[in-house]
Amino acid sequence: MTGTDTTDGLTSSTPDSGVQELEQVVIRFAGDSGDGMQLTGDQFTRTTALMGNDIATFPDFPAEIRAPAGTLPGVSAFQLRFSSFDIHTPGDAPDVLVAMNPAALKAHVGQLKKNGILLLNTASFKPLDLKKATYAVDPRTDGSLDGYRVIEVDLTARTREALEETELDTRGKDRCKNMYALGILYWLFQRDVEPTKKALAQKFAKKPAIVDANLKAMAAGHAYAETVEIFQVSYKVAPAKMPAGTYRNIMGNQSLCLGLVAASKQCGVPLFLGSYPITPASDILHQLSSYKNHGVVTFQAEDEIAAVCAAIGASYSGKIGLTSTSGPGIALKAEAIGLAIMAELPLVVLNVQRAGPSTGMPTKTQQADLLQAMHGRNGESPMVVIACSTPADAFEVGYEAIRIATKHMVPVMVLSDGYIANGSEPWQLPDIDKLPPIDVSYAPERDGDGAKDGEKFKPYERNPETLARPWAKPGTKGLVHRIGGLEKQDVTGNISYDPDNHQHMIDTRADKVARVANDLPPMATLGEKSGDVLVLGWGSPRGAITAAVTRLQGEGHKISAAFLRHLNPLPNDLEALMRSFKKVVLPELNKGQLASMLRSKYLIDVQSYSRVNGQPFQSQAVEDYMRNVLQEVK
């Protein structure tokens, strides 16, 4: 059924011959960290995006730069799903698994669909390889791979043959075997080889021998698949029917950066990023470092605390201060964020969440920093929290963060996660001329500096609508004033220990954050605005929820979904929406953090669907869960 996000793939039909039309395919490339699986997946993705399919990707790699070769901890994988219809997730189980060694096979074959295609590199099934992967028996001989369409190719030998006449040494030749595998898949799925030719020529522009070898290997793989008839059929996936526009494939960290730059340009205030490298947020530092031509200043600080403090210093000086990190870094920055709340300065804190606690699993995804974002500071220190839900959505969220921070003079925490950061999807590029306006004005210069004359500048005099205080840049005449972390008298900003003033300031800082909700658009729903079950989501589970709810709606169930970008403050119309359904269910990759927030705030019996295993939700699991809930509600 076109137009619905199904889980069917090439495994649900029996191939005969020729070219078979499919609606979607899920491919997983798995190999050793050194096998180039991320590059292979990335190439397949680019090509497929250019061919007009909808696509979603999920890289899954180890934290170790190079775990011992051939072992299970060293396995790196890249899953992608492409289709002729609108999809929301990189798919649950793959139709095709490329396993470059026994460890990759062992780690991933469990998820391969029955009747799925399994491409094995036989060169790496020697006794030692099997031992490293802790196989007692060669899985190719013990019947454990029955039920899969196993294709055995000695990728190493075939690649060496293809590159016989090149100047590369054996090691260099062996590095091209991923491209040989890619060539096979390009034939199998009728992909255009031109984009990869172009991309490799660009990537290795200074090493023509490498480009040549990689392309030869790819061509050889393609020819091999075509002539040797290892597959009875090849497959075709028609372009997806997507809204008209210009698209590019984008990863979450990239689009977040673009959203920040767009907002900076829109309001004419340059960005300053203070950051300390941390997985999976480092790409934000890399990316923004490359935007110097757009006036972006990046500062790689000595630690997480210095990074946020420098960003606060930049905001104080009239720039847009940003800091990017992951959960452990947020823990270190907490005191400084409290200072920004007290100083009432704009600041954007980007948290690309990863699996915790402590160091946790740095390359795995999780959404367990929500309550840290809400409450992880001393004292009553409310801050605005917003979250992105897909790689493309991160653009709008980055933009929104700056809009709120500058309009309301508040720090804003942006929650992304590893799945969004490193995953990719086609992004319909926005019309630059129609981006919403962001007006920033600084307090104007005036007379009054010096002890002797005039009325003093009032650094905490507030905008009656937003309660924002003026943005008074040092260097501006007539505005000299002192701010800091000590409690201050409203309006004057002078240090104050007065009990009534403290109560007033506590209430004012909270009210200031609450008023951000006044600007929010009405909540959108996927489906009807009332019914049996409302599936509420925030962050990266959006894709899996959308797919599951769409399928259930297709069966006639009264189920809807809604997604929260703004987590603090929550939209004003959220409560009414939740009360229009018999049941509200909230899937999140933590122990029910947003669910508990909503339960305590609204006294609504929100049911938490919690999963915290470092992996994103699978749409099938969400669907099964909701099917049970729908049963119970009836």
């Binding site: 031509n293 210093g313 104080y316 590029l429 010096g450």
Partner: protein, 336 residues
Amino acid sequence: MSNVEEPKLTKKDFKSDQDVRWCPGCGDYSILNSVQAAFADLGKKLHETVIISGIGCSSRFPYYMETYGFHTIHGRAPALATGVKLSNPELDVWVVTGDGDAMSIGGNHFIHAMRRNVGLKVMLFNNRIYGLTKGQFSPTSPQGKVTKSSPVGSVDYPFSPIALALGAGGTFVARGVDILGPHLQSMIKQADGHNGTAMIEIYQNCNIFNDGAYAGFTDKGVREERILYLEHQKPLLFGADNAKGIAFDEAFRPYIVEGDDLGKAFVWDELSDTPAPAMALATMDEEKFPVPVGVFRRQDKPNFEYAVNQQVETAVASNKQSLKDLIYSGEMWDVK
């Protein structure tokens, strides 16, 4: 903005309307006085001056200055000030910190500011005690210091902030004393003229928790014999009639010379391309040798904010990419 030449500000103009709340007799008062006097002499403008502090008694400083001021969090003033200086290099940015703030909780930011050579002027008030938390030993307290948290004497070895700054690559490293006002003002003025990070360690008496920490060399009666004024291109002489001097042996160990040997006194060169002489003085035993004050080291080197902003300005100047170009880049396709 008026084009009329504005009259030069006086010391009084730099005083804010806030009551100063340090303990009566605190060394911080004389430092505040010296800073206000020096700032007035230097012709500073109130609105171009920013004073950034951390936490501690000394860090209340910004509230008493009629300039921009930011009283931040413990130890982090150099990091925050780095963000200010990078964002607006035109501003005159001063950091006020203490021995706990800069040497203990903020040690990391202190050394990295030195290493990067950010154009910050750092005044480190060293009273060798924690004052605001009421009297625990600090990283500059001498070993054996008896305090509330070290009732039988601290076992920690102390830092020399000067040696630490030198080791971290500090390009202007100096020492002054709270009660030596004119000398301190001279240090402040020299720091002001320095292009990169300027660090002045200021010996400051805490008359409540560590009274007399420096009396052994700052009291009027002993000062002449016990303080060594470092003067560029002059021999290291001290004592009545400058009758004694400091020389170094072949292993760069200092020793005291007098009489016929006075000519061996080392001729001070604050611009020396090696930190060795400065390090030797910074680590001299305070009991056996006079205490050096003045400029230990000064080096001209491009500052951090210049280098960072130059990269950005160069990129902006040659930029041909609009926001639209940036977003509409990479491999794109059209859906009709």
